[in-house]
Structures are given as structure tokens and as C-alpha cells.
Symmetry: C2
Subunit: 144 residues, 2 copies
């Protein structure tokens, strides 16, 4: 994923230590961190990085399409660097853990025109809800 840094440079990004560190934290797919989690991990590498910069950088990555914002009811938004492989999410109702899943069918094809009400429909996201293995056994546990 270090080609992310290349792509960003190509887009005219000024390469700062803060941005490098945020990109590094998001490295490795299948991660779904909140902004504060990103900030905490980034601060291990660059202690004085500010919350505002993490928010700024995440927002920029989102509008560049490099990161996906995942809204999980009530809780803080999660940021998903796995933006180049379309997928959906399976969320544990108890602890909030998020997993990537790949249904066999695109729900967009199942929304008939007469159910679109004149909207220009751009995308469909599916959120599967349930209990993760450990919360199935022992309800009300700490997040993974």
C-alpha cells in the first residue's frame, strides 16, 4: 500500500511527516479504525501529531477515494483503507467489530426503477448485523 504515498504525491500532495504516518497507520487492508484510534496509533510514531490533522488527512483521503467512511450507528465513524475492492460490512451489534464481506449479488440490481422515486441512485451499501463469535458466547464484552 506504499503506492498510496506515490499516488498522493502524483496528485500534488505536499508530503509531510504527519501524512506519512497516517498513511502508515492505515496500511494493511481489513482495518476499520475510528479517527481517534488512528490518532492514537499515529501518535506512537509521531507524538505531537494533532487530532485536527488526523481529521483533515482522513477527510482528504476520503474525497480522493483512497479511504471509505463507514458510519456505524451512534458510535464514531470508522475509516476503511480497503477502498479498491468493493465490499460490504458485517457489524457486531454488541462490541462494534467490523468485518469485510462479499455478498454474491449487487443490491443495486434489485431496486426496480419504480422504487427509485426519481432519485439518481449512485450506490448501495449493505450492513449485516449480528453477533460476532465471542459476543455470541459471552454477551457484553469489550471491543476487539
Amino acid at each position: 500500500m506504499s503506492d498510496l504515498l506515490e499516488r498522493l504525491r502524483g496528485r500534488g500532495w505536499r508530503m509531510t511527516s504527519q501524512r506519512r504516518v497516517v498513511a502508515q497507520v492505515l496500511d494493511g487492508d481489513h482495518v476499520h479504525l475510528t479517527a481517534d484510534e488512528v490518532h492514537a496509533r499515529a501518535a506512537l510514531l509521531l507524538p505531537e501529531i494533532s487530532r485536527a490533522t488526523v481529521y483533515n488527512t482522513l477527510g482528504e483521503l476520503v474525497s480522493l477515494g483512497e479511504v471509505i467512511e463507514v458510519a456505524t450507528d451512534g458510535r464514531a465513524r470508522r475509516y476503511d483503507p480497503n477502498a479498491h475492492h468493493p465490499h460490504h460490512h458485517l457489524v457486531c451489534s454488541t462490541c462494534g467489530t467490523v468485518r469485510d464481506v462479499h455478498p454474491t449479488r449487487d443490491p443495486l440490481t434489485d431496486l426496480p426503477v419504480e422504487e427509485r422515486f426519481g432519485f439518481t441512485v449512485a450506490a448501495a451499501e449493505v450492513t449485516y448485523r449480528g453477533l460476532c463469535p465471542s459476543c455470541t458466547r459471552a454477551p457484553a464484552q469489550a471491543p476487539a
Copy 2:
């Protein structure tokens, strides 16, 4: 929907004017109000009702399964009394308008066992995103 009041009485609810008014505001399906919108409309009927009571009552209705909470990223949660007819949502990315939609297929059937990772999957919600007719014409408009 006034049988809602019956059902609640049956569940041992103390019937207060505040709860009656909140139920009345949620009457009529196909409504997706925020807690503050519910509060505003309730206050027309019962001027001194407090925000805290609206939140309490909505929360109780949600855990009784009489109302569905719809999370719309960034903005305030919306409360949906159409809880007895399964459906999904079409959200305008610009103004936040929400419409009920009924896809022809349940996405749960399209998540194979090997994509469930040991979760006990209970439900699937689809959020279709796009632009409503008026935002398609004139971007950045006031909510409906």
C-alpha cells in the same frame, strides 16, 4: 396506529400525556424524523415536554421494536415508525431526505456461510445513496 397505545399499555407502560403525544407525532407511516423534529412537533401539542423525555420515549419505543432507528452519517439519527413492514432506505446525499424502498430480494440470502465468519447474522439493511429529484436539479439545497 393508535393500537400502538394499546400495545404499550399491555406492556405495562404508565400512560402519560408526554408518551401519548410522542406516539401521536409518530403516527402515520413513512415518516423519518429526528429526535429534535419529534420534540418540535410534540411541543405544539404539549408545550412543556422536554427533550430528555422525547429521547427516553424514542429509546423505549426502539427497544420494544415499535420504532426503527435510522443512522444517517454525520447527521442526527432518524426515527421510523414503519417498523412492522420490513423495508430499506434511499437517502439523498445532499439534503438527507429519506424514502422507504422495497428491493425485490433479501440481501441476507446473498451472504454465503463462508462469508459469515462465525457471526450469528440477524439482519441486513441496505442503504441506497443518491440524489433526490430536487437536488439533482439544484445541488446544495435545503432539506425537504
